[in-house]
C-alpha cells in the first residue's frame, strides 16, 4: 500500500493507505483522531470539516493521498497551547452553541475558516457560510451567536441566551 505523510496539528505523521482511503479515515482510524466525525455520505453535513493548507475542506471527500505533504488542522489542534479552549471553542461553550456535540468539531473548524477570511462577519454572512454544516440540535441560534461573539462583535441585541 502507498505511504502518505503529512503534518497534522503541527506534528509530522505518516501511514500506509489504500488509494480509496479518505482523509477522514486516515485521521480517525490510522491516527486515532476521532474528533473529526462522519455524519453523511454526500458531503452535505460538514461534521468532517478540517483545514488543509489553511482552507476548510470536507475530509469525507478528500483522499488521504491527495494530502501528501499538506498541513492539516483538526479539532484536536484548536485549543490553546496550555490546553485551555481557543476563542471560538470558548464562545461555543459560553453561548451554548452545542448540544450533542457531534456536528461541533465541523462547526468550530468552519467558524475558524470564516473568521480568518472575514473577521467581522454579519449575521447573514455567518448563516451563509454555515451552509455546508448541518446541526440538528441547536436550531443554529446559539451557533451563530457564538461565532459572532468569537469575532468580538457586540451580541447583546440578540434575543435570549
Amino acid at each position: 500500500m502507498p505511504k502518505v505523510s503529512m503534518t497534522v496539528n503541527g506534528k509530522p505523521v505518516s501511514g500506509e493507505v489504500e488509494g480509496r482511503t479518505l482523509l477522514v479515515q486516515f485521521l480517525r482510524e490510522t491516527l486515532g483522531l476521532t474528533g473529526t466525525h462522519v455524519g453523511c455520505d454526500t458531503s452535505q453535513c460538514g461534521a468532517c470539516t478540517v483545514h488543509v493548507g489553511g482552507k476548510s475542506v470536507k475530509s469525507c471527500t478528500t483522499f488521504a493521498l491527495d494530502c501528501d505533504g499538506a498541513e492539516v488542522a483538526t479539532i484536536e489542534g484548536m485549543a490553546n497551547a496550555d490546553g485551555s479552549l481557543g476563542t471560538i471553542q470558548q464562545a461555543f461553550q459560553d453561548h451554548h452553541g452545542l448540544q450533542c456535540g457531534f456536528c461541533t468539531p465541523g462547526m468550530v473548524m468552519s467558524a475558524a475558516a470564516l473568521l480568518k477570511e472575514n473577521p467581522k462577519p454579519t449575521e447573514a454572512e455567518v448563516r451563509h457560510y454555515l451552509e455546508g454544516n448541518i446541526c440538528r440540535c441547536t436550531g443554529y441560534h446559539n451557533i451563530v451567536k457564538a461565532i459572532l461573539a468569537a469575532s468580538g462583535q457586540d451580541i447583546s441585541a440578540i434575543a435570549a441566551e
Binding site: G39, C45, M78, Q89, Q93, E161
Partner: protein
Amino acid sequence: MPKDGHIGPATKRREDLRFLTGKGRYTDDINIRGQAYAQFLRSNVAHGRIRGVDTAAAESMPGVIRIFTGKDFEGIGGLPCGWQVTDKHGQPMLEPGHPVLAQGKVRHVGDPIAVVVAETESQARDAVEAIEVDIEELSAVVDMKAAVKEGAPLVHDDIGSNLCYDWGFVEENKAAVDEAFAKADHVTTLELVNQRLTANPMEPRVAVGDYDNTTDQHTLYTTSQNPHVIRLLMGAFVLGIPEHKLRVVAPDVGGGFGSKIFHYAEEAFVTFAAKAINRPVKWTSSRSEAFLSDAQGRDHVTKIQLALDKQGHFQALRTETYANMGAYLSTFAPSVPTWLHGTLMAGNYKTPLIYVNVKAVFTNTVPVDAYRGAGRPEATYQLERVIDKAAREMGIDPIELRRKNFVTEFPYATPVAVEYDTGDYEATMAKLEEIADLKGFEARAAESKKNGKLRGLGVNCYIEACGIAPSHLVGQLGARAGLYESATVRVNATGSLTVMTGSHSHGQGHETAFPQVVADMIGIDPSMIEIVHGDTANTPMGMGTYGSRSLAVGGSAIVRATNKIIDKAKKIAAHLLEASEADIELKDGKFSVSGTDKSVDWAGVTLAAYVPHNYPLESLEPGLEETAFYDPSNFTYPSGAYACEVEVDPDTGKVTICSFAAADDFGNIVNPMIVDGQVHGGIGQGIGQALLENTVYDENGQLLSASYMDYAMPRASDVPFYTVDHSCQTPCTHNPLGVKGCGEAGAIGSPPAVVNAVVDALRRGGHDVTHIDMPLSPARVWEAMQK
C-alpha cells in the same frame, strides 16, 4: 426555588469541554482489538419474495469471515413491540413478526437480507456486492388508504390485513359527539397531511458487539437513548441472554430525537455475530443506510372537524386519522398515534366532547415510530390549524377565538382521559403578545408590502403530555414496560458524590443540570458531583430519555435518592453532635443543631460514614449510598403560545421566516440556558417540518429522499434568531422539582405557527387559500397562489 442556590443559574456545560476538543467518545470512536466489520445487504425492492440468496462468490472474497442470512436467524426471536393497542371493538392490534434478517419476504427498501462480516469495512462492503439475491418482486403498497382497500397487496400475508388497528377514543363518546355536531351553529372541516419525516440525528447509528467466551459475557456498545431498554428487549425477547450476562453501553450519543429509542436489528445482529465468530463485530451506518433503516416519524393523514356555537365556543371535536406504521411495528410505534396523540386533542381548550379515530396501517415503507414530540405535534398541528380556519370562517380574531375557549381552572380533566395539573394559558398568550410585539405587526406588514412581499402572522398554542409516564396508567393502556426512572447517589468518603442515573444524555446536558439539583439540595458546589449514565453495568435499571422525561422523572428519582442520603446523613450528624435528629438542620453543606452554634460540615459526616469509629453502628449501617426509583403519578403538561411572522415572495412562493417567538410554561427551571437551547432546537426542527423536510416514496416504495441531497434539512440560513421566554411558570404539582420538561415543546408548537402565518400572508395578498400541506415549498405555495 431559592434564587441564590444552584437551581436557576445558567451554568455552563461541563460536557462541552470534551465535545469542543474532539475528545467526545461516541460509539464509532470505540474500537476493540480484533474487531471485524459488518455490512448489511438490504433489499432494493419494497416488497418481494426471496427465492434464494447465493453467498458462494462473496464468501471467497478477500477478508470475508462469515456471511449471515435469514437462515441463521430461524428460530431466533424477532424484534419485539413494546406497546399493544386495543382496537375499538376491544380486540388487540394485529402484530406481525419482525425478524432480525428477512425470512422469506422483504417488506421495505432497506429490509436487511444478509450480512457480511469481514476483516475491514471495505472488504465487507465489497463482498456485499457479490451476494446474489433472487427476489420475486411483488406489488408494493405505499398509500395508506389504498392499503386498507379490499384486494390490496398484503405486507404480512399471515395476519390477513394491512389494518393494524382501528382505534376509537373515547368510543363511548362517539354518539354524543355526533349529536353535538348535528346541533352545532358552525362546523369547520379541514383535511391535512402531517408528512413523514426522518429524525436525522447527526450521528448515524453504530453498534459494536463483544463477547467473552470465558465468562459468557456479551457487551453491546450502541447509539441508544435507553441502554437498559435495549438490554431488556434484546436479551429477553430476541437473543435469550439474561441481564447478568449482557451489558449495554450507550456512550456519548450524537442526538436521538426519538429515533434511538428503539431496538434495532443491527444491535441484535452484532451481539449475535460476536459470539458466533468469537470476535468483536462493529457496524457503522452510513447516512444513506440511516434513511433506509432508522425508524421515521409522523406520516398521518387526517380529517378534523370542529363544532362551534354562534359565539365561537367549541362544542365538539372529531377526527379521523390514518397513521402509517410502515412495514413492521417498531418498538413503540402503536402508542404514538393513539395514547400520545388522542389524549392531547383537547389542547388548551375546554372542548366538552371529543372523538378520535385512528386507523394504523402497514405499508411497504420503513417503520414509523416516535420522532421529537411523537403524536403530540400531530395533535397540535391539526387542532391549531382547524381553529385558525374556524376563526377565519366565523370572522373572529384567531387569538380571540383561542382565548374564548381556554381552560382557565386547574386541575382540569379533559374528555380525553388526562388531567392537567397546572397551567396558565392566558399568561403565556399575554407574554407572547409582548415578546412578539404583536401590536406592531400591521406596521411591519405594511413595510413588507412596500417591498413587494406578503407578510403574514401565525399564532397558536400547544399543550403536551410529557414526563412519561405513570406506569400503572400506561400499563392499562397497553405499554409492556414501566416508565419510572432510577438513581443511585453514592457519597464518597471525602464528600464528593457520584450520581448514577437511568436517564441518558444525548445532548440534553444532564452532566451539568443534574449536579445543579443535587448541589442545591445539599448546599455544596456542583463540581463535587459527577454524573454516570449510559452503561447498564454501573447504573440502576432505568428507562432512558425521551418524552421530555429526564428532569421530571429522572431528576425526581435523583431528588428522592438525595433525600434518603440527607436523612441518613442527619442521623450521623446527630450522633456526632450528640443531639436529637429532629434538631439537625442542613444548610450550605453544614449540619447544625438548631438554636446552637454546634455544627459539623458535610465532609465530616461523609467521612464518619466510611470511617465509622464514632458512629451509631448498633442502629445505622456505615456507608452513604442510596438508590431510589420514581414513578410519576401523572404526566406533566408544559404549554405555551407561539408566533411566527413570514414573508412570502409573490413571484416565487418562497417563504422567509422573519421572526419566531415562543412563550413557554415549563414550570420551574433548573438551567435556563439549556432550556433555551432545547426550545431553539425544537423550533428549528418544526420550521424544518413546516417548510423543508419530506420523506418521499414513489408508488413502488422506492425512497426518493434518501440523502441530504434530497431530504432538505434546515440549514443556518433557513431560520432566524428566535425569541424565547419561559418566565410564565406554573410549577408541576406532582413532582418534587415542580418541573414539566422542555425537550419537545419547540417541535410541537412551531409547525402550526408557520403554516398559519403563510396562509395569513396569502389571504392578505388576496388569495383564497385555506390550507397548504407541509412542507410549504416554494412550488406548493406558488401553486396555491395560482388557484
